[in-house]
Each structure stands twice: as C-alpha cells, then as structure tokens.
C-alpha cells in the first residue's frame, strides 16, 4: 500500500508531465529545418573561408607583396607589415567556426581535431585554387570597380592603392646614370637611386618597360634602392 507522502516515481512524474500537456514532442519538421539551417550555415562559413583565402592571395598579387619572399629575410619585415591582416583575421575566424560546426557530425568528432583541420585546409586550398584558376576575383573586380559598388569596390581597389614605405612595385619608364624613373603600380612616379650597395640579380640589365620591384626607403618621390628584382607584369 502506497504511503500518502511517498515521492512519486520518476516514471510517474515524467508521464504526468507529458499527460498534463506541459510537455510537447517537437515535430519532425523542426529537426529537418534545424538540420537544413545548420547545413546552410556550414556552407556559408566554408564559402567565406574559401573566398577569403583566395582574396588574400589575389590582394597580395595585386599589391606585389607576393614577391617579397624572393628578397629573402630582407623582405620579411615588409611582408609582415603588408599582409592583409583583416582578411587573415576573417580566415582564422572562419576556420575555427568551420571546425566547431563540423564537430557535430560523427565523421568529424570521432577523429582528432588536427585531422579535421587538415581536411578543412585541403578543402580550402582546392576551392581557392579553382577560384584563382577561373580568375573570379579579376572578373568581380572589373564589375565592382567599374560600377563603383559600395564597400566591395573599395575592397577590390585597396590592394593596388596600398602604400608601403619600403616596397615599390612598378614599371621602368626612363633610365638614367645613377638610377631610373619608376612608374609605381599605383600610378605615381618615383626616382629610384641605384648605388654600389644596391643588390641586383646576377646579370640583371634593366630596360625601359621592365616590371620590377624595388625594396628601399622612400623620401618624398625618391627611393634609395637596396634590392631590385624583376616582377611578373602587374595588372595595368
């Protein structure tokens, strides 16, 4: 015989909860939409990641910063100052978000995070490579810059407009006795002074029209060249 003040069993309490209509089963479509939304979010994050990585590469090519490793250790400080840090921050955030979202799935959480990270890295690399191969950013740039689309136009113009104190990509316009006139990739003209201390590639002979990159401090419109390298043609 049940005692009057005996605590009801867990089963009784749970069923009472359910029967009293305080508790409702979530419908199947709720979970379906939840799964779809989650998948969309994951696709969005991966899309941002792939886009950001390919844009970072594009921006570095546009500004010529891509070339800095060829200067060896001398180019490193300039490279660090010239990296698109905002884009890199977005890449990092997207990468971490992708890892967190993917760990909802058994194929992801059953494996160490570094394996998942490598998978995301590979996916991003392949996706970015495809985007670069189809010149998607060049095409998009033409559209947003020509139409002066707000924000996007500025974003795509900025790599070319970026000014560096000691990194000067451009085209040789005029040759002189102790240097040459350089038309900067941004459009302005600089006088480059070549001294006996300037490091040139072995057998390097400069000609008018050559695309070059000059490393050296700038004072006004004069650059004291420390290093000069040939560059692949910059977009005009």
């Amino acid at each position: 015989m049940e005692q009057p003040n005996q605590q009801p069993s867990v089963k009784a309490q749970v069923l009472s909860h359910i029967e009293s209509s305080r508790t409702h089963m979530r419908p199947g479509w709720y979970f379906f939409f939840h799964a779809v939304l989650f998948l969309l979010l994951l696709c969005f994050v991966l899309g941002v990641l792939v886009y950001s990585v390919s844009f970072a590469v594009f921006a570095m090519q546009q500004s010529g910063v891509w070339m800095l490793p060829r200067f060896g250790w001398r180019g490193v400080p300039v490279l660090l100052a010239a990296l698109p840090w905002v884009v890199l921050a977005i890449i990092t955030a997207s990468f971490l978000a992708a890892e967190v979202l993917l760990r909802r799935y058994a194929f992801a959480y059953r494996r160490p995070m570094i394996v998942l990270g490598a998978g995301v890295f590979l996916f991003t690399g392949i996706g970015s490579f495809i985007i670069m191969q189809v010149h998607a950013h060049e095409r998009l740039k033409r559209i947003v810059v020509d139409r002066d689309v707000p924000i996007m136009g500025r974003v795509y113009r900025s790599p070319r407009e970026k000014q560096f104190r000691s990194f000067h990509p451009g085209v040789v316009m005029l040759l002189g006795e102790d240097g040459f006139l350089l038309r900067h990739a941004r459009g302005d003209e600089l006088t480059v002074r070549v001294t006996p201390q300037t490091r040139l590639a072995p057998g390097m002979v400069l000609r008018i029209g050559d695309d070059v990159v000059v490393l050296g401090p700038r004072s006004g419109s004069i650059v004291e060249a420390k290093d000069i390298l040939f560059a692949r043609p910059f977009p005009r």
């Binding site: 867990v10 760990r103 059953r110 995070m113």
Partner: protein, 191 residues
Amino acid sequence: MNDSAVPQPTDEAIAEEVQRGNRERYGLLVERYEQKMSRYVRRFLYDADDAADVVQDVFVKAYINIKSFDIKQRFSPWMYRIAHNECINSIKKKKREPLPFFDADALFPHPVARERADDEMQVKQIRLALDRCLKELDAKYREPLILYYFEELEYREISDILRIPVSTVGVRLNRGRVILKERYEARYGTT
C-alpha cells in the same frame, strides 16, 4: 502459454512507436532506463540533492526531442548523450567545477588504446575506488570511467556520447585510472 518466450521489443522499436504518437509506450522506455540514468547522473554529479531533478529533466528532454532520434541507430548512446548534456548544464549552472573550454586531448591522434579485457577482480577494485574517490576526479576523467566501468559501454559508444575521438576515450581512461589509483592510495593506502 509461456510469456517469457515472447520477445521483448527493442528500445529502438519502442522509440519508433513513441515517435508515431504512442505516448504510453514512452513509459516503458523510462522504466528500462530509469535505473541506468539515476546511477549515471548520481555518480557524475556525486551529489544526490538535485540528481533526481536532473534525471527527470533527462527523460522530459528525451521525450521532447524523440523525433530527432534515428531509429537505425542505437537508442542507448542517444539517451546517454542527453543525460551528459543535462549533467554538464547542471555543473555549469551550479558552478560546481570548472569545465575546460578547449580540449587538448582531442587535438592530436593518439596510438589507439585497445579496449582492455580487465578481469573481474580488477573491475571490482576500480568500481570500489571510483565510488570512494569520485569527487576527487575531474569531470573529463570521471565521466569516461563511469561510462566504461559502471554503464559498461564500449569505446565507440563513449566517443558518441562525449563527442570526442575514439583514441581520446582510451587516453582518458588510462589517465583516469592512474589518477584514481593515486587518489585512492593517498587516502586509503596501498592494497
């Protein structure tokens, strides 16, 4: 007629009936899992005060979300996963102990630790030590030990419940046993 010959429906079959709207059948699932959930929650939270409330919450949550259960999977890990989440929520709410945000164990691969075939004596000793030293273990070691030694789950099931790599389950069990032994011997001397 011999009733014991009538095969009992599986947990998955009962869950499917509940999904179709047969609320009464949910009582059968509660009966089957009440003892397991109570045992697991009491040990994980090592505090009987709100263990009963947490167990009730587990079953209510499971009912609410029953349609998210895939009947092709096993019901038991799904149920334990809900219990794990409720226990973690309880720990966070009551700030019982700090829970690490980042799990370094799950970062790198570890050599796969085989599931040990502990003999019966070893299992008894570990269960005794666990019962006595539960509070002295961090949640990240306490939980896999409870799931393995008391709930008798396999590595893969524990991996699904805790959402950690299978190799990490082995690492945590090994480390947990070492720490448990140290704590036990510090308190009760060597056996």
